[in-house]
Symmetry: C2
Subunit: 583 residues, 2 copies
């Protein structure tokens, strides 16, 4: 397993925000800062940390939440579903054996005791403040009652499958920091288990708040097991992918029974949220027939094909209440898939897309009846002026259920740069209330992302999410910007690097033209050179002419001088003072 | 001179849009497209082309507009200003000789005959339709009267110094396609003349509509000469940089006389627009004293320092009318510099920034009195929710004069990625009427951009500008998106690459995981693999189930079947049809 690049930046350290009363501590990254040139000390800045305590992939993470779950007294261990060769796909069938169990033993899953619901929404509605909620409140630096009430109202979710005790609770909702998701997963074409665990750790190092395992290739069960056991963040999946593998890739052979079995398999493993394309109704499919790009959601196209082939309604829709009952036993959250999302700006905000959204709103409320947490997925490809309507419509129809969007991309003409085209749309949609943004990498539409692409995608989406937090006036969001700007004005180069989202890249770019160590303390950079550095000149002005009051006095003298001249007096002769860097 | 990467993409060719009546032809890039799988032919797509005919740097471009300028009969050739050793900076002084003249001979500049104004605004106001306006109308695919009237009203400019006849006319105004500017230029730290010409050609290859030469280093006059003689796009400068070089970097030693001489030097060379920081008034400087990042415009900080040192009003302001008279003789456009723009999101939309904007509005109208074309520069660093106010305020105060902004960056925390942070703000500000966007490269705040950075900056800004065109509903803007989306749905991979803003990168990313030639025609990519390709499944659905009407019939059958069941009849047994890729 590669650990290259996983080292922490020297100025970054792991610290904790503590709630001693409840024995809780939330990991944060503390960024040490140098003193200002004036001698003023700069307090270290603490920032949200997603990377967890770190783990050796073969050992996994400690079961952080196990005691909390057990302490509520409403779950039971049980034997769990029998492993099936097909769980790991046809390659496992071909070789005649499944991959080895995690640590060699069949896991013992938990589920709700009969008649109980173990979802955070259930507790929140009952007025119970869970450890998960307290953890989230510490992490978001807000009142725990805000957390409880938003979860109770369905406006926020804390994805937290009781079988994923390794995860550090986080919240997705528009009252909180905007979150980002990174997709990983193998495909039939490429990738190994070790690579996927590596991508998981890499994505959370750079700031992914959740990770979706979208594997569609070999050893799909085992890959997921390794990912979950090593993940400090919630894991999402799209179970229809695995179900399709189990029926040999023949969409029309899919059945509710195969799907249900797959869902239970994944609930027992600890998947925290699942994308369910239950809104792709048979009668909506013809609405896509004249689109430029048809149906571009994999799950959407699979279910549309199934509906037409069987002349039947989508089985995910007809069995939705049963799904809710299952999810309530494990606290799996719905991520209601937008199977009919537009795949081109030409198809944006069309009848098919909005018809499905109406159904997703209906399903949101049905899930809430079972106390199941829900978020709703959104597009896709949307021209910039039509982006806002998407989130406002979703928020209204779905009574504020968190919106979770893929971008959207605001133009189709830049394959290779779709992390950028989509970050533009993502900032706009998050500003108006989208709670989580699914990242898009430079490889979108072209191929599978490698590690560099994952990093670029995550950082680009941290930018979009943070820009939206600033735009929403989220409390404290501006602190990092202000600290970095102050460091910039004071030529504290090392602090500029360590406060940035990607310190190593910032430093490398700086060093490309001015590599020597003294340049790290120089009062200029290679962009302008010493003489043309505006910040240097601006600082010199402050040093020469002092405070605002002193400067106003000079400006006032000018007026006096004009009055003097106007009255026929002699012209005031200014002293010549050198401003800027003498050579 | 390196020509690597300057080759045209094989599917791209130079074509012309012609106006036979007036003997004009506008170069465009024609993108050849394959037939659809159905056999339908796809017409080649013509897109805006900024790269000009191409030139050998030592030869320069042909004087495209020379006859048009001469034909108006209002200009005269004259001896021109005497070259001065200082024109090429102190290194030339030290070595005791200026660099060689362009092609060994002192150029003979043109200027307006006494009493004449030779600006496009002057002609437009007089009801004269110039060849430049006709060229622009062909290029923008709009009515020439729109061009003339917008220029007459000051809402658009056609930067076209009569001494830069090599340039292909282009227009900057909110009724037209959003434009982008790329900055190049050497600094005291790095770069040579050859490198700058190379960057110019590189930037226009990727789509820069104008280029600013921000050189502050050695051989500043000669570098500019080479750039202009090879530039098919308007060239902008900030003459205060060169003026400061002439006074040995001592801002307080600047005088109106040195500045005026520098401006004339640059007018004679053919600079098309100049940034003039005439809005930095003495009384505004104290408003920046308590900012987080002070004054971050180089020109702004130089003039602020000068004002305070001299206890005098900014000489650019006090001599503004004289500048207008000079500009009117060459058709140089003002780019009124925002010397007090915010350098951090904390300083956005503050009193200093908006006070200066009030003055820029006053100066806009004074320039218009002399028929001088004007655009107004804007920020900088602005949080996303405050971006719109900037352009709306500028448009209102400046009576619609074109706005030209640097980004703005919507967060300060991502040095190394500021092309992205600023493209987000740029899209928003362009959507609401900004006419030109000054690019930001990944090296912003850190160092000087290399060729890769220039390309990344230009393409990122093409994305922002194009996304804004789409959002504004600009006629025809969606054609490239729709053509690419159609190619995508039809698995015409080669067309997807050639229609993209950066074909080589799109193709390289595709080939990283599926390099073999057959993959170029495969009905999937490595992202999803063959079985999970939604577009493939979506196409299969169309192939299997036909048109919208046919699909509606199936959906209708379902309803009939439900009625049938409801009436106690037997259940309809569907045929099983395989959807998706059989193995």
């Amino acid at each position: 397993m590669s650990t290259s690049g996983m080292e922490q930046h020297p100025a970054h350290s792991l610290a904790f925000v503590e709630d001693c009363e409840h024995g809780l501590r939330v990991p944060v990254t503390e960024i040490a800062l140098d003193d200002s040139p004036s001698g003023e000390a700069n307090a270290p800045l603490r920032v949200y940390r997603t990377s967890g305590p770190g783990s050796d992939p073969v050992v996994g993470l400690p079961a952080y939440r196990a005691d909390w779950v057990a302490g509520r007294g409403d779950v039971e261990a049980y034997t769990g579903r029998e492993r099936n060769l097909l769980d790991d796909g046809r390659s496992a069938v071909r070789r005649g054996e499944a991959s080895a169990e995690w640590k060699g033993a069949k896991p013992v899953p938990l589920r709700a005791k009969p008649g109980r619901r173990v979802t955070q929404m259930h507790y929140a509605r009952a007025g119970v403040v869970t450890e998960e909620m307290r953890f989230v409140a510490l992490r978001e630096n807000c009142d725990v009652e805000l957390v409880r009430s938003e979860v109770a109202a369905g406006r926020a979710i804390i994805p937290s499958n009781i079988n994923h005790p390794e995860s550090e609770p986080m919240i997705i909702g528009k009252a909180f920091l905007v979150k980002i998701n990174a997709n990983i997963g193998n495909s039939a074409v490429t990738s190994s288990i070790a690579e996927e665990v590596d991508k998981l750790q890499w994505a959370t190092k750079w700031g992914a708040d959740t990770v979706m395992d979208l594997s569609t290739g070999d050893d799909i069960h085992t890959t997921r097991e390794w990912i979950i056991r090593n993940s400090p963040v919630p894991i999402g999946t799209v179970p229809i992918y695995q179900a399709l593998e189990k029926v040999n890739g023949d969409a029309s052979a899919l059945t509710w029974e195969v799907f249900r079995d797959t869902v239970i398999e994944q609930c027992e493993q600890g998947v925290d949220y699942m994308t369910i394309h239950a809104g792709v109704l048979l009668r909506y499919v013809p609405l896509t027939a004249e689109r430029v790009t048809g149906i571009v959601s994999r799950g959407g196209s699979i279910m549309a094909g199934w509906c037409l082939a069987h002349h039947e309604e989508n089985f995910l829709y007809t069995h939705f209440d049963e799904l809710c009952e299952i999810f309530a036993q494990y606290d799996v959250a719905f991520s209601l898939g937008d199977g009919l999302r537009p795949g081109s700006t030409a198809d944006a905000n069309d009848a098919a897309q909005f018809a499905e959204l109406d159904t997703l709103a209906e399903l949101t409320k049905r899930a809430w009846e079972c106390d199941v947490q829900v978020m709703v997925e959104g597009p896709g490809h949307i021209p910039f002026h039509l982006v806002r309507e998407n989130v406002e419509r979703q928020q209204e129809l779905c009574d504020g259920a968190p919106f979770y969007t893929l971008g959207p991309l605001v133009t189709d003409v830049a394959p290779g740069y779709d992390h950028i085209t989509s970050a533009i749309g993502a900032t706009e949609i998050a500003r108006y209330g989208t709670a989580m943004l699914c990242y898009v990498t430079p490889k979108e539409h072209l191929g599978l992302p490698n590690k560099d692409d994952v990093k670029t995608g995550v950082i680009t989406y941290k930018i979009a999410a943070h820009a939206a937090d600033l735009a929403k006036g989220h409390p404290g969001a501006h602190e990092r910007d202000d600290a970095l700007s102050k460091a910039r004005f004071e030529f504290r180069w090392r602090d500029q690097f360590s406060l940035s989202l990607d310190p190593a890249t910032a430093e490398a770019f700086h060093d490309e033209t001015l590599p020597a160590e003294p340049a790290k303390t120089a009062h200029f950079c290679s962009m302008c050179g010493p003489k043309f550095c505006s910040m240097r000149i601006s600082q010199d002005i402050r040093n020469e002419f002092g405070s605002r009051q002193a400067q106003e006095a000079i400006a006032g003298m000018r007026e006096k001088s004009e009055e003097f001249r106007a009255s026929g007096g002699k012209v005031y002769l200014p002293e010549t003072i050198t401003v800027g860097a003498p050579e």
